[in-house]
């Protein structure tokens, strides 16, 4: 629609109407091309978003596991030579970082998928989406301990994710 196109334009002020010299030079509004729309639509897809979240969670878990694994001291510290201690610590770091990478990747995947699905279904951008997604993630991760552990995990992770969301909102 070539004429006044509503929301994203600048209330009718275009650079062709320069009657008053005080109005700033606003560039005319340009409709997005199909490629731009397509590029934005990529991030609207729940599968792609959750996989990307999972990958980021995996990277975070890798580094965290590496760091925490380096802090582990071997049990038989006096009986090993320095080289053996080094090999042991390295193996420990590797094992720890891989397991933590998997855990965080799964957590990120489930959280992102749940939040995306709930938000698309509700068609609203709220804190409720975060709560539900956190509950699903926490519950599914602690499901192995029985229903009571699942409830505790659900509530705990939901509260945690709401706090993180509020913190990120305030600082962005």
């Amino acid at each position: 629609m070539a004429t006044s196109s509503g929301i994203e334009s600048n209330d009718g002020f275009s650079s062709s109407k320069e009657a008053e010299p005080e109005t700033p030079q606003i560039p005319p509004f340009r409709m997005p091309t199909m490629e731009e729309i397509g590029a934005q639509e990529v991030w609207n897809n729940c599968a792609i978003r959750s996989v990307a979240s999972g990958v980021m969670g995996g990277g975070l878990g890798l580094f965290m596991g590496l760091f925490l694994g380096a802090l582990d001291n071997p049990l038989m510290q006096e009986e090993m030579t320095a080289r053996e201690q080094f090999i042991y610590t390295a193996k420990q770091m590797g094992r720890r970082s891989w397991s933590s990478c998997k855990a965080f990747a799964v957590m990120g995947l489930i959280f992102s998928a749940a939040e995306c699905i709930v938000e698309k279904a509700r068609a609203k951008h709220d804190a409720t989406n975060t709560v539900v997604a956190g509950c699903v993630t926490g519950g599914s991760m602690s499901a192995r301990g029985g229903p009571k552990a699942a409830c505790v995990g659900c509530a705990g992770f939901a509260a945690f994710s709401v706090l993180i969301e509020k913190f990120l909102e305030r600082h962005t």
């Binding site: 629609m1 006044s4 196109s5 509503g6 929301i7 068609a123 951008h125 989406n129 909102e169």
Partner: protein
């Protein structure tokens, strides 16, 4: 060749252009009202990020589809000669 000019008899070009211009105005008006209505309904007034969130996107999809549906129904009712509710 160029556009086929097989107009029904009794209708001249001026009329056709007039009708097309009116149609274009209707479409523009429809778009503007649709955009305003769905924006006021779907987008939160406190802007937290520059892009539309996913919830807002799906809200806008639903709003636009409902608007077009209702627009079509009212158009049919008007053209059938009944009074719209």
């Amino acid at each position: 060749m160029a556009a086929n000019t097989d107009l029904p008899p009794g209708v001249d070009k001026e009329q056709v252009f007039g009708m097309l211009a009116m149609e274009m105005e209707y479409k523009v008006e429809l778009f503007n009202r649709l955009a305003m209505a769905c924006f006021n309904k779907c987008v939160d007034k406190r802007y937290k990020e520059p892009e539309l969130t996913m919830g807002e996107n799906s809200c806008i999809d639903r709003c636009v589809s409902k608007y077009f549906l209702v627009n079509g129904i009212i158009g049919q009712m008007l053209s059938a000669g009944q009074r719209p509710m």
